[in-house]
């Protein structure tokens, strides 16, 4: 059977617009699914406040785009909390790459995501989500602040806008293709 799934991860810090981006390009309203975690899978130093709570539910938003009659692209938003790393592993498994959303008012919240994909050699693009249309920094300033590798594409987007989100996806797929080993 030749039904193919292509996966893209939409990551970034808390409240950077991940769910909004998934929703703006998905052909279905974003769906939410849950994963149940026990304490063992939650970062040890992050259990403060959940003492006595032995399991936690983490919600994942995702959407889909039918590409052809046998190829479907799935977009998965990472959970807002960085500590659920094992979910990230699950989402990143086999993914073409990631769009890391960045909010210039809180650049730091996207560091863990950038670091995650960089370390694993997973292609990603950084997309600055222009909340309220403001643009406080130049591309150079943002690159420097995020310590972005020069060949990681940096783009501006409005996660609410379908064509803007679509452009970010296209940029990611191009970037992922450019990194494929040359083959026949």
């Amino acid at each position: 059977m030749d039904r193919k799934s292509v996966k893209v991860v939409v990551a970034g810090g808390f409240g950077t617009g991940k769910t909004t981006l998934v929703g703006s390009v998905s052909e279905i309203p974003p769906l939410t699914t849950e994963e149940v975690l026990t304490q063992a899978s939650v970062g040890v130093d992050d259990t403060t406040g959940v003492e006595g709570k032995t399991s936690t539910t983490v919600a994942l938003d995702f959407g889909r785009i039918t590409i052809t009659s046998d190829v479907v692209l799935y977009l998965f938003g990472t959970p807002g909390q960085d500590r659920f790393w094992f979910i990230w592993d699950e989402l990143a498994q086999g993914a073409v790459g990631a769009i890391v959303l960045v909010d210039t008012r809180r650049l730091g919240t996207s560091f863990p995501a950038i670091d995650y994909f960089e370390r694993r050699g997973i292609p990603f693009v950084a997309a600055v989500n222009r909340f309220f249309g403001e643009c406080l920094y130049s591309e150079e300033e943002i690159r420097t602040a995020l310590k972005l590798d020069p060949n990681v594409p940096l783009l501006w987007c409005d996660a609410r806008d379908r064509s803007s989100s679509k452009k970010a996806l296209i940029e990611l797929v191009r970037h992922a293709m450019a990194r494929l080993p040359v083959s026949t």
Binding site: M1, D2, R3, K4, S5, V6, K7, V25, L31, T32, T33, E34, E35, V36, L37, T38, A40, S41, K53, T54, S55, T57, L60, F62, R64, I65, I67, T68, V71, V72, L73, Y74, F76, F86, D89, E90, L91, Q93, G94, A95, V96, I122, K166, L169, I170, V173, R174, A176, M177, L180, S183
Partner: protein
């Protein structure tokens, strides 16, 4: 990926997990490690009348190709459980499986198809 999904004494969501957990015979990870959330499955012609209700609900969702993540979302079942149950149905020949999302085998042609598809949107 080995972790316990059920710890027995939480309320709410986890409480609802108990019967599902028993349904999968305590299995917490799928045998087929290639199964990922985006993997799509489809119902094969088979007699599902002897399947347990929870499995039949999955089969009913699979009359067309559908991903494991979608099944979990529509049936409000945690992903790990959904994955294991889908795996059981695959093993028993009730479901057919598509190619999993795999970066390593993702050939240039597939990405070209995706790119063309996105540009048409």
């Amino acid at each position: 990926m080995t972790y316990d999904i059920w710890d027995g004494d939480d309320d709410g969501e986890a409480g609802r997990l108990v019967p599902l957990y028993i349904l999968v015979n305590g299995r917490t990870t799928p045998r087929n490690t290639n199964l990922d959330l985006a993997t799509q499955v489809i119902a094969l012609p088979a007699d599902t009348s002897r399947l347990e209700q929870e499995y039949r609900e999955i089969m009913n969702r699979c009359s067309g190709w559908i991903s494991i993540a979608e099944i979990g979302a529509y049936l409000h079942r945690p992903l790990t459980i959904t994955k294991v149950m889908v795996d059981v149905l695959l093993e028993q020949g009730f479901l057919g499986i598509g190619a999993p999302a795999q970066r390593k085998i993702a050939d240039r042609r597939l990405l070209e198809t995706v790119l063309a598809g996105l540009e048409r949107l």
